[in-house]
Amino acid sequence: MLTSVKQLIDRFSSRSLGIEITDTHIKWLEASINSGGIEIHAADAEPIASGAIAEGKVQEVAPVIQALQTVKQRNAPAAKHTNLILPSILTMVRFLELPDVKVNHLRKIIDLELQYHVPLPFDRPYYDFTKLPRNDDANMKLQTIDPVPEAAAVLESTDESESVKTGKTCDVMLVAAPLDDIEIYSSILTNVGLKPSSIEIKALSLQRLIERTNPFDPSSTYLTIDITPIYTDISMYSGGALRITRNKSLDFPASEDVENDFEFFTACQELMSEVNRFINFYRYTLNNRNQEVEHLFLSGDIAAIASVADYLGDRLQIPVHRAAISYDSPRGFKAIPNTGFAGALGAAARGRFE
């Protein structure tokens, strides 16, 4: 009896829904976090009508809502809150070094920075930020921006002006996206009866998945590559924080048999070149020479994800870990490979209160 009650409480309290909407599919994953790790309760995917979403932007809302409604009806979620992954192509990630002040004051400084120094290429940008832990070993120096006089004036009246005078700084990760697109995606969820609790980027969802599943040391320097048929996300993590991320348009073939596929190898070569440039940029341009990339986490919803993993593992000489989603969904895993749910699983792992 008590076990049943506990299960009932767990069913309705700790479950959360992770949804990733790409140009081609809606990925649906319901999971709960418990002491034993992440438990997947449902994983499914529904294709979106071609042209409804182009490069992350919703062109037609109705097909997207219909696809989401379909997958919802098919899975009947028990989760009351939903975490959505926004397409990476819509987002922009900036790393700033700012005075180490309180969050409220930091927000004012960032507002001034965006107004005068780092303008975002959106008409109505919306952003969120977080302080990153210092990477002492690497003595990492991100893009350094002097605080504008207005920001200094804001801080003069506070006790934290001492931080500015002494030059004590903190690393800040800024994630921004067009508010119009955010509202569209939020309204899509609302229209089907889902209550969005958070909207984030895939790089952070993958980081959370790695932290929860521990395929390797999450505090090490590692690389994540998420491949979709249209574009690929490459992100670098070090010291338990996202350090740099990039989105690259690569055309991987849809077929699984790529043994003699020239298009596949061309895409792999382009990916390999991009990864090398990315690593070099991180190590030498961003002055992280001492940081060796120790692991590569590969995910994506292309059929030949295993071949990509083999290709990268052979050439980069670093362990390649493919996302392991151990859930036998009769429908979702037919539509896309299990590694394609890595982002949705990481979003679902966010839970309700994070």
Binding site: L86, D128, K131, I182, P196, S198, L204
Partner: protein, 278 residues
């Protein structure tokens, strides 16, 4: 490290406006309901109190209309008044009669007694005048009487006649005349009474002296009345009516058989009031 969330945060008022409004409306409805209930309850109570007051007033008016003096009550009140009057006018005669009769000397005879309006009039035969005085004194000491008046004292005499010898030849025994009363003036008796009283008041120096014990039992006015009577008796002209038979007698001897005194006793007021007590 804080997680990134690009979901726009709703302003505080936009986020809490609806719940706050619902809460405020709920509180308003609750308070209004409570106030309405209290107001209605007070109105009900007021209406009930008004109705009760009007009903009581109607009852009072009805009772006032019905408040007619009961004939039985009038009779009872009249009876009570009569009883009170009777009680106030009641005189307990028994102690006085008891005193007056028990104080009579052994040789005295109560011939007549009449009581009316707090006064007892006695007509008593005494053997001597001293018995009269003793009786008065004795009854006076009972404190049952406010006033004692010796209205009259009459001596009852008997005249003994001795017939002539011729008649004695035939009948040697003296002839005794019938008793005539009153047959003799009271002067000798009054004089005797005066002397008795003078003897009792001897040595006092006053014109009319009375015995201190007598003085204690008689009030001054009573003494004055008695003295006036005595003086009247002493100065009055004697009225002698001697009934002499036509039969010649050799000698006549007057013998006092007894004295008839008429005494008037006025009951004491305290005694009369005490007699009114139930």
């Amino acid at each position: 490290m804080k997680s990134i969330n690009l979901l726009p945060k709703k302003p505080f008022w936009k986020r809490w406006f609806a719940p706050l409004m619902i809460l405020l409306v709920g509180i308003y409805i609750t308070v209004a309901s409570a106030m309405y209930y209290n107001l209605t309850s007070i109105r009900w109570q007021q209406q009930a109190a008004t109705e009760e007051a009007s009903r009581i007033e109607q009852n009072i008016a009805l009772l006032r209309e019905q408040r007619v003096p009961d004939p039985k009550l009038a009779l009872l009140q009249q009876f009570q008044v009569t009883v009170s009057q009777l009680e106030s006018s009641r005189i307990d005669w028994l102690p006085a009669v008891q005193t007056l009769t028990s104080s009579l000397p052994a040789d005295a005879t109560l011939e007549k007694a009449r009581a009316e309006a707090g006064t007892i009039a006695l007509e008593v035969q005494f053997s001597t005048l001293q018995s009269v005085v003793d009786y008065v004194r004795k009854t006076r000491s009972s404190n049952l009487f406010d006033d004692i008046q010796i209205t009259s004292v009459t001596a009852l005499q008997q005249i003994k006649l001795e017939q002539l010898p011729e008649s004695a030849s035939t009948e040697s025994a003296p002839t005794v005349s019938p008793v005539v009363e009153p047959v003799m003036t009271v002067n000798p008796m009054l004089e005797e009474l005066r002397q008795m009283m003078m003897r009792e008041a001897e040595g006092t120096g006053s014109e009319i002296q009375v015995n201190p014990s007598l003085y204690e039992t008689f009030r001054p006015e009573e003494i004055d009345a008695a003295v006036s009577i005595i003086e009247q008796w002493g100065t009055g002209s004697p009225q002698e009516e001697l009934a002499v038979q036509e039969t010649p007698v050799a000698a006549a001897q007057v013998e006092v058989l007894h004295y008839r005194a008429v005494l008037t006793y006025v009951l004491a007021q305290e005694e009369a009031e005490r007699g009114n007590a139930p």
